[in-house]
Amino acid sequence: MRDVAIVSFAQAPLEQPEGQTETLMLLPTITEALAAVGMTRRDVEFTCSGSADYLTGGTFTFVQMLEAAGAWPPISESHVEMDGAWALYEAWVRLQHGDVDVALVFASGRASLGASLRETLTFQLDPYYLAPIGADYVSLAALQAQAVLEHTGKTEEDLARIVVERRRDADGSPNSAVPGDATADELLKSDYVVAPLREHDIGPPVDGAAAIVLVAGDRAREVCAQPAWIAGIDHRADPHYPGVRDLTVSRSARQAGENAGVGRGGVEVAELSAVCTPEELVLADALGLGDDVAINPSGGALVANPVMVTGLARIGEAAEHVFGGGSRALGHASSGPCLQQNLVCVLEGRS
């Protein structure tokens, strides 16, 4: 495989003017990601993005984002109706051809529009058997939580402690939607949303945008002091129906992790798209992450869940670890009910 590195990552801050569009969130974010490596939109040879119509209640909403990408003169471009992490995967594949070296990847989503995310994501489910019963993602995550707690012997207090840690790590971050000083005792006083999950167990859905610049080969070193090289990247799916899966494990995450080379060891930081607390336990187990791995030092998706951006931002945060001198980090993205689909990207610094 051709060597490809993440050389830049930018994420829109949570605080935005009221009614801010995805295009306007993306515009400065893309500019920032490119400018950080001395590039402009003219340097980009392939563009790929991820977003979802259902969040806006519209159609072809990704077309408007072309304004932020700068699609004139015409550009070589593609779009996935998936988390931006899969757009990054498509761009990585495109860079393998060897004829282009620079790719721009971006993602955006507005969870604040229209219906609640619980209602919207229900439309992701099998329209004949699951969506009609209103099996929303929080209820399905609660089923998973129950199974995980019974299987591991962990308690609701253990889940709350994870949240306390994530919130503390994210304290002061422009991408955290929650206060950093909660205690487990305080959190556990709140009512269940769907037992055994309380509000703190569910990452707050927010509007978001992020951009990543990928560069292949020696050019990556020319524009970035410490590129985050993609050592391995893979994604896998599980069957759709939660009823045919063992919800205490994630086979697809394990497969993706193995194929991406997580098992080769040395991962210092793992940024996981766990939007509900039990998912973090399942993923850490599936990826074989030991106590020596720092999980979600950014706070992860439990402090803010910018839907469609969450996974790409995890990869970006993992890249930041390498930019800062780290040697190995992984970013993870997920999609679908109870972690149906998982993508793992292992990044490394090279001297």
Binding site: M1, G58, W72, P74, I75, S78, Q96, P239
Partner: protein, 381 residues
């Protein structure tokens, strides 16, 4: 150096107004199963799935690939969902091609579908909650501009409508089958969006298309003749700004130039034996013939008028009946790509052009701003 890519299996469903005999999963599986049979493969041979469909609101299922993963045998495998407006079927095939050419995978199943009967397409085309004019309402002024600029006679659009529907009579999968269609019948049909008569417009269809792609070794091993991919390209441009020409968009020209360069095409009319081109409204045939370099600007209509684009002509366009005869939107682009492949494989059945060796598959979308194309050939590049 990129790996070569071959199309070794093609599957299509019967397209119709309402495929209420199957679920969405049943529809995509029907196409995928046929593609695997054609490739003499089983589900176990597939390493990865790339699926495309147009806006989720058409069917009312958000990210339907999650639910369709089971029907497509994708458990334990990578599955990706592409969405680039009307060009999506073509773009999806291009992404699948990339997985082979990059050597990430050796056998990829790619599927595109639309089940328009599940929803209200014109509502969705009008940006859902925002209100709007529908697809034809958007394109009608561009068509009018083309007619005025080129001075084309009014019967040229109807000629395309008749030609493609007559071609569709030779395609058992085509949705519209209008045996007695004539230019008079087209011109007497009501305007849906002036100057587009009802019979100059594509239908709304349910349908799916699938292809199995392999690397060079897989192409050489294939039981039936493969179609070799000689080039792929995508281009996107902004849809609205002063100075843009939506009648002859630069994105289409650039995309064609890119794919022709890869495939060594210097004179498209001479070098291609057959073309499958995305023509949802009749006048787009002459418009795209100019945009793609088959005719000088302003004279594309003469190509149609002379009969050159008919099955008996020197550059047959849409022998399958095209989008004018079947329009499962998300699949319409892939159908163009797949029909081009079938022609060079010699497997297009009654609408086969004898001895076709090289073909162009073309798709467009959005405000005529998304383009995807591939060139396929009977010989390895």
């Amino acid at each position: 150096m990129a790996e070569r890519c071959a199309v070794v299996g093609v599957g299509m469903t019967k397209m119709s107004k309402c495929r209420d005999d199957v679920s969405m999963a049943g529809l995509v599986r029907e196409a995928a199963r046929r593609a695997l049979d054609d490739a003499e493969m089983t589900w176990a041979d597939v390493e990865a799935v790339v699926i495309g469909t147009a806006p989720d609101i058409f069917e009312g299922v958000m990210m339907p690939e999650l639910y369709l993963a089971d029907a497509l045998g994708a458990a334990g495998k990578p599955i990706m969902r592409v969405h680039t407006a009307g060009s999506v079927g073509g773009s999806t095939a291009v992404v699948a091609t990339h997985l082979i050419e990059s050597q990430v995978h050796t056998r990829v199943l790619t599927v595109a579908f639309e089940k328009q009967s599940e929803g209200d397409t014109n509502f969705a085309f009008s940006s859902g909650r925002s209100g709007g004019v529908g697809a034809g309402g958007y394109f009608a002024p561009h068509i009018r501009a083309y007619i005025e600029r080129s001075g084309a006679p009014a019967y040229v659009g109807p000629m395309v409508a008749v030609k493609d529907r007559k071609n569709a009579m030779k395609n058992p999968y085509a949705h519209l089958q209008i045996p007695d269609i004539s230019i008079e019948m087209v011109m007497e049909s009501p305007f849906v969006w002036d100057p587009i008569h009802r019979l100059e417009s594509c239908p709304t269809s349910d349908g799916a298309c699938a292809m199995v792609l392999t690397n060079e070794a897989g192409g050489k091993r294939a039981g039936k003749a493969p179609a070799w991919v000689h080039g792929t390209a995508v281009r996107t441009e902004l849809g609205w700004f002063p100075g843009r020409d939506p009648v002859n968009p630069r994105g289409g020209q650039d995309c064609a130039a890119d794919v022709y360069r890869q495939a060594g095409i210097t004179d498209p009319r001479q070098d291609f034996d057959v073309v499958e081109c995305y023509v949802p409204f009749s006048w787009y045939e002459p418009m795209w013939m100019e945009n793609l370099g088959f005719a000088e600007v302003g004279s594309g209509w003469k190509l149609t008028e002379s009969g050159a684009t008919s099955m008996e002509g020197d550059i047959p366009v849409n022998c399958s009946g095209g989008v004018l005869s079947s329009n499962p939107i998300g699949a319409s682009g892939m159908l163009r790509f797949a029909e081009a492949a079938q022609q060079v494989r010699g497997l297009a059945g009654e609408h086969q052009i004898d001895g076709a060796r090289r073909a162009l598959g073309h798709a467009y979308g959005g405000a005529a701003q998304y383009f995807s194309m591939w060139v396929v050939g009977a010989e390895a590049p």
